[in-house]
Amino acid sequence: MVALASEPQSLDPRFGTDANSARLADLLHAGLTRPDAAAQRVPELAASWEFVDPTTVVFHLRSQFHFADGRPVTALDVQATYEAVLDPALASPKRMALTMISHIEAPDPATVVMKLRAPFAPFLDATGLGILPADRAREAGEVTLGAGPFRLLSVTPGDRLVLAPNPGYPEAPSRLDPLIVRIVPDEVVRSLELHRGTVQLTEDPPQPEMLEWLGAQPHLTVKRMPGTSFDYLALNLRDPRLADRRVREAIAASLDRESILRFVLGGAGRPASGLLAPEHWAFAAGRSPRHDPERARRLLDRAGYRDPDGPGPLPRFRLLYKTSNQPGARRLAEAIQAQLAAVGIALDVRTYEWGTLYADVRTGNFQVCALAWVGVGDPDLYYLAFDSTMRPPAGYNRGGYSNPVMDRLTRRGRQVLDPARRRTIYARVQRRAAHDLPVVPLWWEDRLVVHTRHLLGFEPAPDGNLRGLAAAWVE
């Protein structure tokens, strides 16, 4: 029995976009490729692939995969699924990520040929899409029949999902039969379910204090591993104060990220230097903001924002900090507010319900806010987040950052296919971002999993997926 904090909105790989939809769809469906711990693509349905020219990719499928109804997975299924998602009539949120594909062919049952509109290095990141049977790929309703390690037996909306092993999955069938996924929104209650043993695993760990208590229970195990989620302070560079790099650097230098990490996450993270964690294939070690309040004050003085009354109560200037109404987000806001106050920046904290906050972030209606990139994959995210043309709605450049050098590098990074050359390009991108500070890096969150000692063989994944359950069993 696994507990999740919220109900997945869809188990259909064509539609689900929230984290729990992705987690559960990943148990039911198999894609051509999947990411490994270094965010590199590794085989799943596709045994191998090659770029026969810069715009043609050929995938060779494995023959051992079967859908849960017993039919083998063929190239026609892959073609039909991709074509369905690409059809605007389906209104799939995954369509945009596939629009670089101009044409798909299935010359034989074991071969898929994808033609791209132009050379596009991050393309493989889009090949994790779960494959549906060809005859169901265009259905408008929810399709849950897949070729993943589990099949869906039943759903009780808002309460639970019951899964069973897919006999057509090529690896040894899971010994978790059935696998029950329960929706338990309250973190205290999730912890108590774990304590009692009625739930064996949760990937949504509670606040640090509760986690400490859970870790002290003899029948529970808290597993921690480096994660790929990147937490950061988004800054709106349209604000003249934040447009000044010295001010951004002062904000970064004023934060004691180690102590905030301990306070907010119980130490479950590593201070970050940028989007890519050290395990990522394109990571390049670089400058990481260092806690130095004195330097922060000097930078602010130099930028012309002198403290009007020294150690007195008047700030150099005020900024509005928007955040969500989640307990962890509020704690983070309080910590950042206190540390910025120490260098003379007053932060007015406002908490919002997520939909409202998201709308403000999208429209650039913010000065400072804390956000996170969950499960960072291809480094092309740097293009989507920092290229000057990628301001919403085109991309994620919410702060309005613009630097021609960054533009040139990130555009080059998506055209060069050679991984070694891409690594060099992204090393320069990371150095540029560390210098310009379009966002203030906070930390890479660790993955925390709590499970009972009866659950054996489960290995958590850095991006929080639950595939480890396929090899797990309960003693």
Partner: protein, 307 residues
């Protein structure tokens, strides 16, 4: 009686219309776009526009409102944007859980509150009365976000008698129903006691006693019947509130009811689902009010005569 019910039903329509109109207006005033939430941040503007058109969100607000009302008139609540399913189906999946929890909490609260209130009033000033007053005050004051986990700690973790959370058999129902019922019970006990004390001081009670009517009969038949009028009003209102979904209790006990669904729908800016939920809640309130009216008539013959 039938005429009265029909009259009430006719009066209900403008009330529901008002509720639905307000929700429609407020939802469209709140920042946030369901299409952007649904398609994600990197969606192509053309896709956003196409889906907005499909959902009718590109039309002027009055046109959207008229379309919404027309659909309701035909019994069509639309499709949920987030769940990609008919709103009626999504609500239908959750409403039985809400009915089950609200019904159990209501019956529990009423079945304990009335006897306790009557006993407290009949023994006014006694130790029983004082204990009942303290307990009812505590029941009314304890917030469910505190009481719920406390009950779980005691009965699920400590004693191991009851499940921690979730919906299943009758055992799963006990803790959430008690959590929900205690607040309502606290209010009702105090109300029953106060109404009974007032009734017991009336002349007709003195007359009944003077005629030699046994004490229990004076209390249970003569006084209680009159004391129940205000209690019925408050109980009806509280039952309506229970059907509206007890968000906190449902969240604590992982109960898959309407309250949690409303919160999820608002977060996703799922306009059709929020409107459907509000309409369902409105109809629930109206139904409870109708039942309350019928109960009035059963208790008070003067109302029957007035018809």
């Amino acid at each position: 009686m039938l005429r009265r019910v029909l009259r009430q039903l006719v009066l209900v329509l403008p009330t529901l219309l008002g509720v639905v109109t307000l929700v429609f207006a407020f939802l469209h005033l709140v920042p946030g776009d369901p299409v952007e939430i649904m398609l994600g941040e990197s969606a192509a503007p053309a896709d956003v526009a196409a889906l907005r058109h499909d959902l009718g969100l590109d039309r002027p607000l009055p046109a959207q409102y008229a379309r919404f009302l027309m659909r309701i008139a035909h019994g069509d609540l639309g499709r949920s944007i987030a769940f990609r399913a008919p709103v009626a189906t999504v609500i239908g999946d959750r409403y039985p859980a809400t009915l089950e929890l609200a019904g159990a909490a209501f019956l529990l609260a009423l079945s304990l509150a009335v006897p306790l209130g009557v006993l407290a009033a009949a023994r006014a000033g006694s130790m029983l009365d004082r204990l009942t007053r303290i307990a009812s005050l505590a029941g009314a004051c304890l917030p469910s976000f505190w009481l719920g986990p406390l009950l779980i700690l005691g009965f699920s973790i400590g004693l191991g008698w009851l499940p921690v959370s979730g919906r299943g058999g009758p055992l799963h129902l006990i803790l959430p129903a008690v959590t929900l019922a205690l607040g309502m019970m606290g209010v009702l006990v105090r109300l029953v006691r106060a109404s009974m004390l007032e009734a017991l001081g009336e002349d007709y009670i003195r007359t009944a006693r003077a005629k030699g009517t046994p004490g229990w009969r004076v209390v249970a038949v003569h006084a209680l019947r009159n004391a129940l009028m205000p209690v019925t009003t408050v109980a009806g209102l509280q039952a309506g509130a229970l059907l509206a979904g007890a968000i906190l209790t449902e969240t604590i006990f992982a109960w898959p009811g309407l309250g949690r669904l409303v919160v999820e729908a608002i977060s996703a800016r799922d306009y059709p689902l929020v409107q459907g939920c509000v309409l369902t809640i409105g109809v629930s309130y109206v139904t409870v009010n109708l039942v309350t009216d019928l109960v009035y008539q059963a208790i008070d013959p003067r109302l029957r005569d007035a018809d």
